[in-house]
């Protein structure tokens, strides 16, 4: 119960920060729409719908990267991670709250991006939407953890994509597989990815946040 109220307090703070700054969500929206527009020119006539679906997944991963790179900027700029980790709450609440806010931002971007995709390219089946939801969970969990690692170093945001992209390859495979093939195999794979990496990130955050 305490755990959840701590998460709520921290997540409220993250949403409030975004509400004040109004930076991340508009940037993600504009980015994903620009990406889809570019993809129109990147797919030659005669390409299959699957190629367009593939690019949709690329757009989702890179848009999420935009949000993830910003995730710990407020904490980093003012050394606030110190203040947060000294609080008597479980440190994983910081990770969970951040992950939830990233999922929320990503969700907003996708609410615009998915209809735009059907408008520009081809229709989407329900399975793709389910895969997007599952992928968001995995992307946000892993990306929030690597984001916290990235801001701890001197290279800052620069290495966030390097840390995150190799870990996102299974998500891309699961997503495109779910969009392009029949059967629940790939949705199960995404669920497995989420289960494994949510647990791992949740357990590992304590070590990432603090040295003592």
């Amino acid at each position: 119960m305490r755990y959840l109220s701590d998460v709520a307090a921290l997540a409220r703070k993250d949403l409030l920060l975004e509400l004040r700054a109004k930076e991340t969500i508009p940037a993600m929206l504009l980015f994903v729409l620009s990406a889809l527009t570019i993809f129109h020119f990147a797919i030659p006539r005669g390409s299959s719908d699957v190629a367009a679906l593939g690019l949709l997944w690329v757009a989702i991963v890179f848009t999420s990267l935009l949000g993830l790179t910003r995730a710990f900027v407020p904490e980093r700029e003012q050394g606030l991670m110190d203040a947060l980790i000294m609080a008597p709450c479980d440190r994983s609440t910081i990770w969970l709250a951040k992950t939830l806010s990233v999922i929320a931002f990503l969700g907003v971007a996708e609410v615009v991006a998915l209809p735009a995709f059907t408008l520009f390219f081809s229709g989407l089946n329900l399975k793709t939407v389910a895969a997007v939801v599952l992928a968001d969970i995995g992307i946000a969990s892993v990306g929030t953890l690597t984001g916290a690692m990235a801001v701890a170093g001197n290279a800052r945001e620069l290495i966030q994509p390097l840390l995150f992209l190799p870990l996102s390859i299974p998500v891309i495979v699961g997503g495109i597989g779910a969009s392009a093939t029949a059967g629940p195999k790939f949705l199960l794979f995404l669920a497995l990815y989420d289960a494994v990496f949510v647990l791992l990130s949740w357990a590992a955050f304590d070590f990432v946040a603090a040295e003592a």
Binding site: P74, L80, M86, P88
Partner: protein, 192 residues
Amino acid sequence: MVSARNLSKRYDTRRIFDKVDIDLDEGGFLLVTGPNGAGKTTLLRVLAGLAAPTSGELVLPVRGEIGYLGHEPLVYKQLTPRENLTLFGRLYRVPDREQRIKALLERFALWDVRDKAVATFSRGMQQRLGLGRVLLHEPKLLILDEPFNALDTAGAALLDEELATRSRRAVVVATHDPGRVEGLATERLAFT
């Protein structure tokens, strides 16, 4: 409350401090002095549980009973004083949160700007808010790194008053103006 034996901290191979012993009980006041780059901040961060000592034994109060004010006021600049204190009040489970926040903001003369973003504050106002943040949960161990920084006469007087009341807590202060708190100190640690 704090007990350190043979405490050492190194960055890579560089020794910042070596074999420091500290014993601090309730009512104790440790004054840390030394020139720039001597290792005061590093020691205070170790005592706050933010940095791990390289070697030595260290016993500290549990997390949540420590209040640490560093060189930065450690508040969210995009949020208002009230939102900042509400967040930390929740995380520290402060009883009667609203009243306590109001009392602190009034005491540090920030009540009138309670709903303005901290980013618009002067350095001294931010320092006052930082003090409010560490005092909010009535820590048993209060660690202040150059707390008089940027404070005006009135703000410094408020802090003097706060430091003079030492029942139920121990205080560690690092400062370049030791004369100011000289009378309060029960322990001294001078870095060279």
